[in-house]
Symmetry: C2
Amino acid sequence: MTSSDHSNYQIHKNQIQLTDGTVYETYRTAGTLCSHDDEFNFKKGIHPTRQDWIQKRIAEGSQNHSQMYFAKRGILTDEMRYVALREGMDPEFVLNEIKIGRAIIPSNINHPELEPMIIGKKFLVKINANIGNSALGSSIQEEVEKLRWALHWGADTVMDLSTGKNIHETREWIIRNSPVPIGTVPLYQALEKVKGKAEDLNIDVFLETLEEQASQGVDYFTIHAGVLEAYVPLTKKRITGIVSRGGSIMARWCIHHKKENFLYEHFGRINQVMKKYGVSYSLGDGLRPGCIADANDDAQFAELKTLGELTKKAWEEDIQVMVEGPGHVPLHLIEENMRLQNEICSEAPFYTLGPLVTDIAPGYDHITSAIGATVIAWHGTAMLCYVTPKEHLGLPNKEDVKAGVIAYKIAAHAADVAKQHPGAQKRDDLLSKARFEFRWKDQFALSLDPELAERYHDETLPQDGMKKAHFCSMCGPHFCSMHLTQELRKEEAKSSG
Amino acid sequence: MTSSDHSNYQIHKNQIQLTDGTVYETYRTAGTLCSHDDEFNFKKGIHPTRQDWIQKRIAEGSQNHSQMYFAKRGILTDEMRYVALREGMDPEFVLNEIKIGRAIIPSNINHPELEPMIIGKKFLVKINANIGNSALGSSIQEEVEKLRWALHWGADTVMDLSTGKNIHETREWIIRNSPVPIGTVPLYQALEKVKGKAEDLNIDVFLETLEEQASQGVDYFTIHAGVLEAYVPLTKKRITGIVSRGGSIMARWCIHHKKENFLYEHFGRINQVMKKYGVSYSLGDGLRPGCIADANDDAQFAELKTLGELTKKAWEEDIQVMVEGPGHVPLHLIEENMRLQNEICSEAPFYTLGPLVTDIAPGYDHITSAIGATVIAWHGTAMLCYVTPKEHLGLPNKEDVKAGVIAYKIAAHAADVAKQHPGAQKRDDLLSKARFEFRWKDQFALSLDPELAERYHDETLPQDGMKKAHFCSMCGPHFCSMHLTQELRKEEAKSSG
Ligand code: SF4
Ligand code: SF4
């Protein structure tokens, strides 16, 4: 494997062929059917080498490479056209959503491998998978394999959160092999540069790191500029304090120096790097709650207000922004998070981590958090950061990545359906019809995880003929209710005929 | 193992001991901490042999053994006292909830092995696990093992849905070994008695089956008396028709005979058996939707109206009632289900199957349904019937039973927390505190699945010393945000000191 060979990591399956020959196209590998009519004309053939689009804009002398910059000037970019095709939306609609800041297309000019995608509440809900090593585990190869695996199951963006060895090289491999946007938290590498001493951080080492990562092609940066000095004492009464790594690093810096967060103070300088490469902000929620007892507290909402202020500052320079959100929130407090974020951040896309709705199930936090994620996405969250079964317990491996991605495809899709997004329910209905007609192969093909569905079915009835049987082992032949309904319909036809 | 030896199936762990010696008592094995103060005085010692209570009432000449019968006469039964202790509620409150029909204690006089429990929206949300063989699999031993396993992980009631061989004997083993209420769908066995021909069913063979099962000690019966002849045509436009086994059998009978459902016509005779043994109704939703496209349709709500009517008929004879609900419902249509059931069935406990919020994830329907289950329980559903990963694909095995039960413990508990049920959040807070203080053993002990949590942690850091380490492999020692917060607090203490 060489780092320029990324053919393995292209979307390798974007069609579902049913047994009658009908073909349905999917947004991504294991994703949602995104066409809202059968005429949807997204074709493999039009995949870009984005390089050409970028070169053209550079030749034209553009200094700001943010999609918002073009949108505000009424310029419809190739990226906008591309996402419009993917989502089955009107390109002008896409342009307008980007112009008003309600959607973003994370797209660094140095990431030509990217197949552009859009994040915003008027589009399909997206999911992010976190990968990356820690000091205690994983190799470059394992991380690239996690990337491939996350994409196979349908991750829409991937964050490389490496904090261990070979941070730069790991990231290079990941970006070069990724057709989806890559996000990072540059603070982690900056901290490594000052040998792990938070108090030795400063804006210069940070900007140097930012430049390094942006020039590699990172599409969005988590920046913890909202953790203000004055907010740190608000976390004192909490059960779990500050659980964001970036948040706890910046809090430490502020308290040590008795100074304001240098990311906040020098936000304007950060803006310059963002514009130059077309990187998008993911404004970090460094003070998000780490347990349900700490949800929706003063610290969390104080920071949110600052994130709203920073959103506007970024928009003034035409830089795309999304805003990160919690975390751990009991069900009855979820809606308030979405409502406040909407108001305070003027509808900039919300990007939440879960939230987990209970703390009592370590080992199952892909489930505790998928519940909260579905509900918050229904209320308008644009992208959901997955949580794996290893959350709080250890570094996720490949199988954990799959479990997290699938749980979040379910959450995102269930929210699309609940939002009555055009065409979202189509895949459900096709699958239900296949189920009722005992087209087992079609039922499997339309599943988020066709292999698993087939394996489960075959545990008890592996024989080939059973793929057309009018029952399965759950109820058995005499009690299959769907079979009984079909008999009933025959009976009704007879008695009315 | 003999059928009278059920000592293995008692609640074998109802205490969580923390490393500092503190002990917390749990409602059930893997259940919710139900005390709302530390003085909670539910002790192992008071477990009943319920036999004495029952004998006393029989000696007093009672003809109706329903708890509602006693409640309406202001008589506080031992069962009511027992559940009051379990839930940490006032006994008079329990009595009143039963009197007005808002809660039930399913408790057949021939099930003395029962440790009484209560189902109602003012109490902790309960979960049911379905077990039982089909014509295509499983032995008595496997089913008893599934029962034991379901109880180990925290099922509050269990339904034996056997439709295969040895129905009577399987049920006997299950009831004799169960400290939790057992429910059945008597129609399945009645159908076996007429050799699988729905049209040969009649009220006599049904009542004979009812008497047989009630005398064995079944605590609640699903009765599909709401599937009226006139409602069957309403299912014609559906994608998946009638997906309840009982519903499709009764629909077939009605259409064949062009007659009204005999369960509806002879409801009064069924009442007699219910009273005699103190069995509770679980009014079956034979016309529940089988896919999200069919949710909240005319067929479903027509039947619900009839279930409301039957609820009142049962209450007139002091018989306890819960009402079954869907099934498959997209998130935005869930609340309407709860609201209508509340209105139409005068707050009789709602007992729903999930609902699944999307149909595209066979193999993961414990997750798709736990999402809907959490939301509907938050709105007031009193008991959730679990769904396993095998749903729609085959008969669940032991591992599927565990996966289903855990997903539903999460759903029920998250709903208790969202309802702000007294004390519900205590276990979350204890676990979060243990997490923040790096008391790894306590974090595991407080988990729904301590073994799995520990195994996941130990995958990367198995060494004994790591059980006190101030980090895990997820972020590693330099990036552990909780460790950083603790350092921060030291720093704060220093600079203010
Ligand atoms: S036997 Fe039951 S689970 Fe299997 S196809 Fe028929 S209705 Fe569905
Ligand atoms: S390393 Fe990360 S996941 Fe592990 S205990 Fe620390 S904060 Fe929690």
